[in-house]
């Protein structure tokens, strides 16, 4: 099968130079001079995304300004069989926008206009390079906002959010990118315009939107998106609760859901993370706590008052040592400031960190935290933990020094161990950051050879030659064999006749 594969060997310099000449010449014919980069000093800034441990220089970087130019670039690449890696702001954390050594990086940075804002239909039509937060800012005068709020929302673009199916801290109540996008306009590898979804709530035929969203640029190139906007809640209040035991905090999360409450946000930080962020933002976190839960309610004032009372009851019942409810918006934002700054705070206490992104069933929250504590000893590296606890989505930040090859190696093993433990606990290797190149090995654990082959077949249905972002997301049989990772078998759950609840 013509399964896409990452180049295993660095191409010979002469071969690369010849290929580059051909590709640049062909692209010069369809792009203005300022929209094409190929000198090393110009393409170096594109050699990695938010996952800086992996770098590669592309043959060239195309910066088209119109959809017609994007189509022309794709037609050239399709004709020459050149790989194409689409790129937004480059904030991705899994290497999804890592260039291909013999490919073209297609930067969509210039597609940064909001084309339409319609308060009546509560939708906005935006180009793919518009920043996530810019949409909410533009919608604010209408009392509306765009719900998914990944931590990188100041910088990350909606095109990248579509590629990764990005989440944020409010997913449990408001959903992921998929749930907040109506239509994606894009181009096939052949350079044909195609629309997935529509401004109605459904489309005739197969619903292709869910397969495009989260496909990491491997099926089509997104140029324009219609997003849903939702009314800004009248009020939001947040409870900060501290626990002297991780297991109690984990049980508190389950107890809130069991009480029939869907919090607007439900986040957990462990003790090392709390110490790191408190030192950075001075939010007044309880430094003695083994775990801190942030639990938010939003809605009408009546609704919030009712829900906060119920949450306080549940948290107290679960053994919270200390609880504080935000008195005003300033205090609420202060509670969140530490959580939102978990990454930069980790950057201050360690030369490098690697952020994992697996998801587990909520009930395993304490188990995985305790397992990670064991791994800290096993790999002799520190790890701080922040969780989207309501979704069971973990973000362990493994601290290391990339200048020490042995530390990098141990960090990679540590990360893979977290992912594989998550799969064994019934979870997944990535909740919202994507597979990219970082988690290819762990995909062998999560999916069988037949499942991976089916995903390759989906890829071929859109891109028969495997030119769009090749080598990402789905590992080949060969790669899995070399890695020696065992697939965790799934199949149907046995014995459905037994009562389990």
């Amino acid at each position: 099968m013509n399964a896409p594969e990452l180049p295993t060997a660095v191409p010979a310099a002469a071969e690369r130079a010849a290929r580059q000449r051909d590709v640049v010449a062909a692209l010069q014919a369809v792009l203005p001079a300022h929209a094409l980069l190929w000198h090393a000093e110009d393409t170096t800034p594109y050699e990695c995304d938010g996952l800086t441990a992996y770098r590669e220089r592309p043959l060239s970087v195309a910066l088209p300004e119109t959809e017609a130019q994007v189509a022309a670039v794709l037609k050239v690449c399709h004709a020459l069989k050149v790989p194409v890696v689409a790129r937004g702001a480059g904030t991705g954390l899994s290497g999804g926008a890592l260039p291909h050594a013999l490919g073209v990086t297609l930067s969509l940075a210039k597609f940064n206009k909001i084309l339409g804002m319609d308060p009546a239909s509560r939708t906005a039509v935006v180009q793919c390079g518009v920043r996530n937060l810019a949409i909410s800012e533009a919608a604010a005068p209408h009392g509306l906002y765009y719900a998914p709020d990944p931590s990188s929302q100041i910088a990350c673009t909606i095109g990248g959010n579509v590629a990764e199916n990005s989440g944020g801290v409010h997913c449990l109540k408001y959903g992921l990118t998929l749930h907040n996008v109506l239509r994606v306009r894009g181009l096939t590898i052949e350079g044909e315009v195609v629309e997935f979804g529509s401004e109605a709530l459904d489309v005739p035929g197969l619903d292709l939107l869910p397969i495009i969203v989260g496909s990491e640029g491997m099926l089509a190139v997104t140029t324009e998106v219609t997003v849903k906007l939702v009314p800004k809640p009248l009020l939001a209040r947040c409870i900060m609760a501290s626990f002297d035991d991780i297991r109690k905090a984990g049980d508190a999360v389950a107890a809130i859901i069991a009480a029939g409450i869907i919090p607007a946000g439900l986040e957990l930080m462990d003790k090392p993370m709390t110490a790191a962020v408190e030192d950075f933002v001075h939010a007044g976190y309880d430094l003695k706590a083994e775990a801190i839960l942030l639990c938010e309610s939003d809605g009408t004032p009546e609704e919030v008052a009712e829900e906060i009372d119920r949450m306080l009851d549940v948290l107290a019942g679960a053994g919270a040592m200390r609880m504080e409810v935000s008195k005003d918006e300033a205090q609420r934002l202060k509670f969140w400031s530490g959580r939102k700054n978990a990454f930069p705070a980790s950057g201050r206490i360690s030369p490098d960190y690697m952020c994992m992104d697996s998801t587990i069933p909520r009930k395993k929250l304490a188990d995985i935290l305790l397992a990670i504590q064991d791994m800290e000893r096993k790999y002799d590296l520190k790890c701080c933990n922040v969780f989207h606890a309501g979704d069971g989505n973990l973000h362990p930040l493994i601290l290391f020094d990339a200048n020490d090859p042995d530390q990098l190696h141990r960090c990679e093993l540590f990360g893979a161990d977290i992912l594989e433990t998550s799969v064994r606990m019934g979870g997944t290797v990535t909740g919202e950051h994507g597979v990219g190149v970082e988690k290819l090995g762990s995909m062998c654990v999560q999916f069988s050879p037949e499942e991976r082959e089916q995903m390759f077949a989906v890829k071929r249905a859109f891109d028969p030659d495997g030119l769009l972002n090749p080598g990402k997301v789905i590992p080949t049989l060969q790669r899995c064999a070399e890695g020696g990772k065992m697939h965790v078998k799934k199949g149907l759950l046995p014995f459905p006749e037994l009562e389990r609840f």
Partner: protein
């Protein structure tokens, strides 16, 4: 221990592939009327039945495809939870009603679709048999999952053309603590404007229906929020038992509008389901109309030619599905653009290379 029901279905798929005899996948048959005509040898999924796992605190239920939807919803209700998208329960020959597999394959949602999302928004994972009789699992049982392509959601609404759905994991939610239904006398234009205006405000909206000069609105959420909204919006409160019967009738097409439509269909009219942007103006097509989903779903029972209805829907950015009709020669689903048609053909081939699953059920030319 062998999973007998699964093994039997796997063998059927393998044999069908070897003999190149297409299969017609069917649960209770409550949606036999929907889509293009069923073709092929009957493959009954009801043997693959039962709730495999349900943990209310995880908000996830995993259930086998042949399980009656009513059985699943009863189990959820026992824990104060629900499938928020109001899946319709159409009548079936066995009196049990449709199955969970049929719900996923048809992808139809009821009155609350516009406010809570559709079937695909609640599918977290699925195990399917592909055309090579391989059992494949995609997605999972967790809320957030971006490992690989989201195949489990691609099968929602696929009318069984990609594979045999064996088991699905669904996100469930707590039932709303309070609901209230309000009625307003209002023309179509005013109702559409009002619904879209309300949609932009932080109100606990749940469902809406406009028919024949009457707008009915359901609020659902925390008690305090519903009471405050009802006070603000005014209108006439419909007595709870009556309101519940109305929404169930609307969901299952048992209410007055749909009963009338069924008679008209027997007389040669067509029941169209128009999916439109919610702000699309009244289309002014002849026939009876029921507007749902805040304006985004409009049922039209009309004798008009298919081409006229499709043209009117497309002109405002929507599409028209021939939902019920004796004559389906115009095609049930609106035609696709050239690139989408090609992707459909290639995806069909990717999952079912020998064309054994539900040939022609989605589009006449697809996989027969």
């Amino acid at each position: 221990m062998t999973d007998v029901a699964l093994q039997a279905l796997t063998d059927r798929v393998r044999d069908a592939r070897a003999a190149r005899t297409p299969l017609c996948i069917r649960g209770a048959g409550s949606k036999d009327f929907y889509g293009e005509a069923p073709q092929g040898t009957l493959l009954d999924t009801r043997g693959l039945s039962g709730i495999s796992s349900y943990e209310p605190t995880e908000l996830v239920v995993t259930v086998r495809a042949g399980t009656p939807l009513a059985e699943l919803e009863a189990a959820l209700a026992g824990q104060g939870q629900c499938l928020p998208f109001d899946p319709p329960r159409f009548a079936s020959g066995d009196g049990q009603g449709g199955t969970v597999g049929g719900m996923v394959a048809a992808g139809l949602a009821g009155p609350s679709r516009a406010t809570v999302g559709g079937v695909r928004d609640y599918v977290l994972g699925a195990s399917v048999l592909n055309g090579q009789a391989e059992l494949l699992s995609f997605g999972g049982t967790v809320m957030k999952n971006v490992a690989g392509y989201d195949v489990s959601r691609l099968i929602v609404g696929s009318m069984g053309v990609l594979g045999l759905i064996c088991e699905v994991s669904l996100k469930v939610l707590p039932q709303a603590p309070a609901t209230q239904t309000l009625r307003f006398e209002m023309g179509e234009t005013a109702a559409l404007a009002q619904l879209n205006a309300w949609g932009g405000q932080p109100l606990p909206l749940s469902a809406s229906a406009w028919w024949d000069g009457m707008l009915v609105l359901r609020l659902a959420g925390a008690g305090a929020a519903v009471a405050a909204a009802a006070q603000r919006l005014g209108g006439e409160t419909i007595e709870p038992a009556l309101a519940a019967a109305f929404w169930t009738g609307l969901r299952d097409h048992g209410d007055e509008f749909f009963v009338g439509a069924a008679k008209a269909v027997d007389g040669g009219a067509t029941l169209w389901r128009l999916g439109l942007p919610s702000t699309a103006p009244p289309l002014g097509l002849s026939g009876q109309q029921m507007v749902e989903w805040g304006g985004a779903q409009r049922w039209l029972c009309s004798p008009m030619p298919a081409a006229k209805v499709r043209e009117a829907a497309a002109a405002v950015g929507g599409h028209a599905t021939l939902f019920r009709g004796l004559d389906k020669s115009a095609g049930v689903f609106a035609p696709l653009s050239a690139p989408l048609a090609r992707i459909h053909r290639e995806l069909k081939r990717a999952f079912d290379p020998d064309g054994i699953f539900n040939p022609g059920r989605l589009y006449p030319g697809l996989g027969s």
